[in-house]
Amino acid sequence: DAGITQSPRHKVTETGTPVTLRCHQTENHRYMYWYRQDPGHGLRLIHYSYGVKDTDKGEVSDGYSVSRSKTEDFLLTLESATSSQTSVYFCAISSGGKTQYFGPGTRLLVL
């Protein structure tokens, strides 16, 4: 299994508060991704990174920002959490060649 961890694994927060999720890899892969998974919608790309400090938006990026200051870490920030951002968030990594390796996920509940 690829060395990829996510923290926290579970979080409950209140509407309007900022939240940061962390993805950490030990594989030195160039590409990193943040997805959210919701019933009826499948996996949707929020943001992705193609190198340190190089990021781009996915299909559902509104309300989210990301940062990648080191190869191994990719942070996802919900600037002001809303109930619609209650979801399961997955980080994935890739060395190129399309195969993506997923982390275990973070369950976020926004009350």
Binding site: Y48, G58, F102, P104
Partner: protein, 111 residues
Amino acid sequence: TQLLEQSPQFLSIQEGENLTVYCNSSSVFSSLQWYRQEPGEGPVLLVTVVTGGEVKKLKRLTFQFGDARKDSSLHITAAQPGDTGLYLCAGDKGGSEKLVFGKGTKLTVNP
């Protein structure tokens, strides 16, 4: 607009039965992947198909990529309870390291 349509959305069968899951699109893909996701975990890659008409076998699982590279199928022979999970197809349209995911087929194999 969902680029990849998976069917059926839900499937519940008895152990020993055969089943086929479909992944269809009006778009052409450079490659298509199938992932399996178990509850509480991230998706795990099963196979990648690249060539139109390609057939790949993984034990009791048979994957096929359509001749026009717009669709794919997953056939499971003699399903077992361990096959239970969410099956996701993901397409690569080329030109980037992003994948487009279908919404998934949730398979339950009853003993």
